[in-house]
């Protein structure tokens, strides 16, 4: 491929250009105009952004309106999770429990999570949801590994959706 070069002649700086004063004044006029517009800067963390309904924050586990944990440890989220952020060990719940099965271990590694929401989509029991929590932090790596108890605490109670065990 041949490259054609076209020389561009540059305009010579005039006296006013070399003085810089008009440019400074132009810039300052923009600054003064901004001073009288409404403020949009938010004082984080005192002020918080309200996220929209479809926002995907950290995944959490929810309980139903009877306070019963909804997850049955079917491991579909573990299977579908692209970065393998979820680790589940199922266990049998005590005899007489209507659910039969739940997670003994449900670990969510937020260093790995990519907020894709495939876990929420795969969940047949509507037990895992993308919360609105965008402030996920930890002082060390183990802080970013969220266990079952913490995930249920963050998820709280969700009244709508699947209630498969209601009539059992």
């Amino acid at each position: 491929m041949t490259v054609t070069v076209k020389p561009v002649r540059r305009r010579k700086a005039t006296f006013l250009d070399r003085l810089y004063l008009p440019a400074i004044l132009k810039g300052l006029s923009i600054t003064f105009k901004r001073m009288f517009r409404p403020k949009i800067t938010m004082q984080f963390p005192e002020e918080r952004w309200t996220v929209r309904d479809q926002y995907r924050g950290m995944p959490v586990l929810v309980s139903d309106d009877e306070g019963r944990p909804k997850c049955v440890a079917c491991s579909l989220c573990e299977f579908v999770c692209p970065p393998k952020a979820i680790f589940i060990v199922p266990e049998e719940l005590e005899v007489g429990n209507k659910v039969e099965r739940g997670p003994a271990v449900f670990d969510l590694n937020m260093l790995r999570c990519i907020y894709c929401a495939l876990c929420e989509e795969a969940c047949p029991e509507e037990a895992i949801f993308m919360s609105k929590n965008y402030m996920v932090w930890g002082a060390n790596r183990s802080d970013m590994l969220f266990h079952k108890e913490k995930l249920y605490e963050l998820g709280g109670i969700r009244t709508e959706g699947v209630k498969k065990w209601k009539d059992k």
Partner: protein, 503 residues
Amino acid sequence: MADNKPTITIDGQVLAYEPGQTVIQVAHEAGFDVPHYCYHPGLSIAGNCRICMVEVDGWPKPQVSCKLQPSPGMVVHTQSALAKSARAGTMEMLLVNHPLDCPICDQAGECHLQDYSYQLGQGEASSTTAKTKLPKNVAFGEKIVYDAERCIKCTLCVRFCEEITQTNELAMSGRGDHEIVIMTSKGEFDTAYSMNIIDLCPVGALTSRDFRFKSRLWFMDFTESLCTGCARGCNVVTGGRDGAMLRMEPRANAEVNQWWLCDEGRLDYAHVNGADRIASPRIKTADGVWVQATVDDAITAAAVALREAGGDVLLDGGCTLEEMLLARDLAKVMGGKARYAAATGGGDKFLRVDERGANAKGAEGLGLARATKAAAAAVVIVERDAHVPAALRDGAAPVVVFATDAASVPASARVVFPHGSWAERDGLLVNTDGRIQVINRNPAVGPDNIPATADVLEEILGELDPAYDWRGRGGLHAALRSESAFAKAQFPAMQSAGVGVGA
């Protein structure tokens, strides 16, 4: 047809049949995928699930192909609109009272109801009534869990107890949508073959107490192998995940175990998941301290120790033919003899035999003597305590030990190699009928990077005998073929190490 066998036509293909066969058998033999729940080639025909419906020319209604006797010239359609709509209707009826608790069901992933529901189901039910409530989580003995809501009443489990074990523990009770399977005896279901009904059950109604909720199937690796609990050599599939063996199920082999496996063999993998497994070679230093060593260093140390000691080799009766052949050669170089040890007892009239050494017949073929009382041996290979008990091991006072579990290493040992359990080794075993079969390594079972016992034995042999030429598996098999005991035997083709499923 040259041999004048009667024929029928299935989906345009003319097929000969033997009198006594039913249409589904002819279709399956020709490779047609006719769905079925209650049909099993090893049991009597019930014809009650109605999923195998086919259309027959000249017959007004669809017919159940599992029970349909062919007549010469019969024309069968398995994929016609009538056959398909009949199956879709059956499927919808079976799902009317099915709880659809696939997320908590252990059968999910290998459930025929799931498979056919994807193939034939409509996704929506026309029934709007509430599903029936039936007993869940019922114990059928100690090993089996029954869920009546998932049950499709195919009666395979009842027929198994009637026809195969002839113990009649199970029966159908009630009728209509309240029909369930019950135990006829009071809380006892202790047939030695009871767990076969778990494999028979096409849905998740009968699941294993042992495997309950341990893992979803799609995380596991499955490998075709053999049960080594006794010398029968039942064909099985081993399933493992993350270094642990989780379950074992039978694989059909008409010549050996048909479709069945005994409960004892099925649950006989505790030593595979033992807490004290040896994962790497160890050498005892001059001051009696054990240190971990690389395989190469351990082989050198073993050769040095064996040059000093010399003597016999004592083998576990579950060792493969390759290992036994190498052990015999090793003993010869050291001026001794190879012997094998194996437990006996526990046989029955069906599958289990008294001989517990899975390769005892192979050892006899190679001319190894059976060790019955303690005698000195320089090398001991031990996988199961039952085969090589402490008295034999300690009495042998070996210097080099191949052991699966750290607890079975005698105090006299100076070099220890990890010996993979039967689920982690490749090789040939000879069963009680003299049939040579293959065991395969399941890549998901056992500690990582265990050196193959046969390879280590061959390396040591090479160190001790400068004239020894590395044979590898091909060379060893050639040497086995030239043994007079195996001259006429058929050697199976070695299979792949197993195929992973899912992540």
